[in-house]
């Protein structure tokens, strides 16, 4: 192979008529001068002829009837074990498992949350504490308002 020979894949593409016009023209010019590339092209064309010459096979008599049976079965859809196999195959079991895990986790976490929820007694105490704080605040405010009077009163002897 000479150094100015194109890549052999280009010769293959030329055999298929897949080179663009300028590249095809260059290839034709090169082939006119290069025996090696002409031999390569002939070899590729011979391979194509060998494959092209492979005879067609005849379709068997049962091919069409077998296909019609499968087509009719398609309309009916799978039944019984076939349907079960279909459900168990593919990604459905994975999704089903993920949903089941989420449900179980949800139930578990809900149960824990419910245990941590305050009892009625605790709620009453908290509410009372809030009321007590409010009362304390009001008392302090009243004290503040009355401070001038308290300061003005003489100290007990």
């Amino acid at each position: 192979m000479k150094s100015d020979c194109p890549d052999e894949s280009q010769v293959s593409a030329y055999a298929d008529g897949e080179l663009g016009t300028p590249a095809a023209a260059q290839m034709r010019a090169h082939l006119a001068l290069c025996g090696h590339c002409r031999k390569l092209l002939r070899a590729y064309q011979a391979v194509d002829r060998q494959i092209g010459a492979l005879p067609e096979i005849s379709v068997s008599a049962s091919f069409e009837s077998g296909f019609r049976e499968r087509l009719e079965a398609l309309d009916e859809g799978p039944r019984g074990m076939e349907r079960l196999k279909q459900l168990l195959s593919g990604w459905r079991p994975v999704w089903a498992f993920a949903v089941a895990v989420c449900l179980v986790a949800g139930v578990f976490l809900y149960g824990r949350f419910e245990k941590q929820a305050p009892s009625m007694e605790e709620v009453v105490i908290v509410e009372n504490l809030e009321l007590f704080r409010d009362f304390e605040l009001i008392q302090k405010l009243e004290l503040l308002e009355a401070w001038d009077h308290i300061e003005a009163e003489p100290e007990p002897s």
């Binding site: 011979a46 492979l54 067609e56």
Partner: protein
């Protein structure tokens, strides 16, 4: 196919009759086994039927059809459920199916035997190619699809198709040229 999309079953059966030979032949050249090739071909047409509603006439129908056939063949290989056999008895079933078969009948028994041996060898070597090289070569030589169409059918770039076909030819050249030369 547009009629099939709208539910015309007669149109589907017309398409089936027109293309079944080609699809069965493609699958047979791919896997080398008659019974499996017919199963694959049936699967191809079932998928055509199921996908009819999604069909959009962007390109030739045969491009779309052989895209499905390519996917079916490549997926079947991945399952590994079939074995590759060269069924030389199939040659009897080829009589009258094509011009090559008719031409063979004119030859003497010796040349018929030689021709059969040659075909078996070519099929055997074709079956030895990596999947995508084999399918690209079959689509190009038997299907006469362009590199652009083959790229769409296989799901790769045109440049990759060029390389696949080149490598497939190169490998077959190495195996077959010493036996057959570059004769016509």
């Amino acid at each position: 196919m547009v009629r099939v999309k709208s539910g015309d079953m007669n149109a589907f059966h017309l398409l089936f009759d027109k293309h079944k030979q080609g699809v069965v032949g493609f699958c047979y050249r791919y896997c080398g086994h008659r019974a499996i090739s017919e199963e694959l071909a049936q699967e191809v047409f079932l998928r055509v039927f199921k996908a009819a509603k999604r069909y959009r006439p962007k390109a030739r129908f045969t491009t779309w059809l052989y895209r499905i056939a390519t996917n079916v063949c490549l997926n079947e290989l991945r399952k590994g459920e079939y074995r590759q056999q060269i069924d030389s008895l199939d040659h009897k079933a080829c009589d009258g199916a094509g011009p090559e078969a008719q031409d063979r009948e004119r030859h003497t028994p010796e040349t018929q035997f030689e021709q059969r041996e040659r075909e078996d060898l070519v099929q055997r070597e074709l079956s030895q190619l990596p999947d995508k090289q084999r399918v690209a070569l079959l689509l190009r030589i038997k299907g006469e699809f362009s590199y652009r169409e083959i790229a769409e059918q296989i799901g790769c770039t045109e440049n990759h198709v060029k390389v696949l076909i080149y490598r497939g030819r190169q490998q077959l050249k190495q195996k077959l040229t010493p036996l057959f030369g570059d004769e016509a």
